[in-house]
Symmetry: C2
Subunit: 336 residues, 2 copies
């Protein structure tokens, strides 16, 4: 990389602030943080250093005017971390594209948007191509452990009968918004009520499933999905709050797809406070079989930030358009 | 993929014949076997079906005239499996390029040729670009378990201190040429003698190391490599031959690289008859750490064939030039 990539951090929640920190740390590795965007009135107008809890002023003022930030900073890439939902972020992504700024986004629904939001996906692809930029959604999950890594594991096989992916996360160590997302501390009744909203629990499992299926050219004629509460079997305390025995400790989210009765693909996600034996595992029943385990699992918050930052040079080098992780080269750590 | 990819099998040793079989099996998945090349006079002129041990005639006659095969079959891709050594295969690869045929090769030294053979790498890249084709070397090792997969694992990390990759292979179940390559059944004296040839043991470990280092932009100022015999602690019988107690049962090949005293990278390969607890493992001491194990290890012979066949559509879609697995999109199974 000969030219420095100017990066704007778009969204300063827990993931966004951590991403800003990492981009700053890597500023001698071909990337440079040049701007920060957030709509929170408590953040707008402040120096980013203050938002990051540092005493040092960075000379980057948080702004709520994305287009103005892109223009004044000559931005090449936005690291976008504002929401899980594509309808909510469409106009933000469109502003990036119209400003000719590449997008790396943690929006879970963007990881594989063609099923749930085919129209938006088409529009984003057209916008990206017209403005000669690339848009990609990534992270750890969706983004890696339950989709890109299993897909890559199949690359060692000539025949596949089934793929089983499992991720067991102990949410005790995860950020507060995630603990809220999984309903920790709720009653079972409230959980069932909240579930009806459709925006509750882990977002992206369906996207992971359809990403793998698309990569394998499997046409799933049946998809089954369930979301159930995990129930605390004892009183549990986290740095953020307490979960009493009998309350919800998290989620059990399961999705399976079937292709021609000959192929099955299942993704089994449990995220709960106090999970035992946390791990990620991938079993490909193929020729040869692949039986892969990541002990204790990939730690979500820091890995998501890593995925976002590490993909920056790949996105800049990519052909224009809306891309997914299976169109990009293998991810690798940037400036380690 | 709308157009069928015409594939020629270039080399009909154990890996090549298995590759030909798999390409034939996948003939309704956008690839089609159209030709076969080998120099063995016992194979030339025969129908490929006979070589594959099938009663069926395939209408593909084995030829030793590569250019003629490429011309008459309108080949798009050669799956090239003739030798581990780049100097030996250079003219074969050049013929492919000049015939405007993309190359997927099992030549271990081609996996990352820039260190050991920079001049050849440069020539191949120029030839490939001039003829608008892509050349890539891949397989399971080098190609996946000790290089591409570890590199991809680092994609989840923002900071890395060290990477340790280990592959323990029980060679009892592997093809005969591999058992010979690792010196099974030799005396220790013969092993040491043979070692001096420089073409003995596993080929590609140095390539794997330098591939990872290049992917991470690490400039290794020190590389240490050792090749030692594993000694049988009991009499062992394989389907091919016997190894007596005290004879060589295989190899222990270790390579380490160091970058700035802050980073280390080590690849530890043991391939021997009767290996206990065979597995592949990758430990990235990073933020977050990644502790990945493939139980029993990826089975080499069939996975190498899978890697070669699965990469075909990625190579056809790639920009022209000499590529490595880190420039191509994530591998995935073709037509499973």
């Amino acid at each position: 990389m000969t030219n420095t990539i100017n990066v704007v951090q778009y969204g300063l929640g827990p993931i966004g602030t951590e991403s800003a920190r990492k981009i700053l740390e890597k500023s001698d590795n071909g990337i440079r943080l040049v701007g920060a965007i957030d709509i929170d009135p408590k953040k707008v107008g402040k120096d980013l250093g203050e938002i990051l809890g540092s005493k040092e002023r960075l000379g980057i003022t948080v702004s709520n005017d994305a287009r103005e930030v892109f223009r004044s900073t000559k931005a090449h890439v936005a690291v976008h971390t504002t929401s899980s939902f594509l309808e909510k972020v469409f106009s933000q992504l469109a502003h990036c594209a119209e400003s000719k700024v590449n997008v790396v986004s943690s929006t879970e629904e963007l990881f594989y948007p063609y099923d749930r939001h085919p129209k938006i996906a088409e529009e984003l692809d057209a916008l990206a191509k017209r403005n000669d930029i690339t848009i990609v959604g990534t992270g750890v999950n969706p983004g890696f452990v339950m989709d890109t890594l299993p897909l890559m594991a199949t690359g060692m096989c000539t025949k596949i009968r089934s793929i089983k992916v499992e991720r067991i996360v102990d949410a005790s160590h995860r950020r507060l918004p995630l603990q809220r997302k999984i309903g920790a501390g709720m009653s079972v009744t409230d959980f069932e009520e909240k579930k009806k909203s459709g925006t509750f629990g882990h977002i992206g499992l369906r996207e992971s499933l359809l990403f793998i299926a698309a990569g394998l050219d499997w046409h799933l004629e049946r998809v089954e999905e369930s979301l159930e509460p995990m129930i605390a079997t004892r009183d549990i305390k986290t740095p953020y709050f307490e979960v009493a025995k009998g309350q919800v400790s998290g989620i059990h989210h399961l999705i399976s797809g079937y292709n021609n009765a000959t192929h099955s693909l299942s993704l089994n996600l449990k995220m709960y406070i106090g999970a035992e034996n946390p791990h990620d595992s991938i079993f490909v029943d193929g020729d040869p079989p692949i039986d892969l385990v990541i002990k204790t699992g990939v730690f979500g918050d820091s890995a998501t930030v890593a995925a976002l930052v590490n993909v920056i040079p790949l996105v800049v080098a990519s052909a224009p358009g809306l891309m997914t992780m299976k169109e990009l080269p293998v991810l690798r750590s940037l400036g380690s």
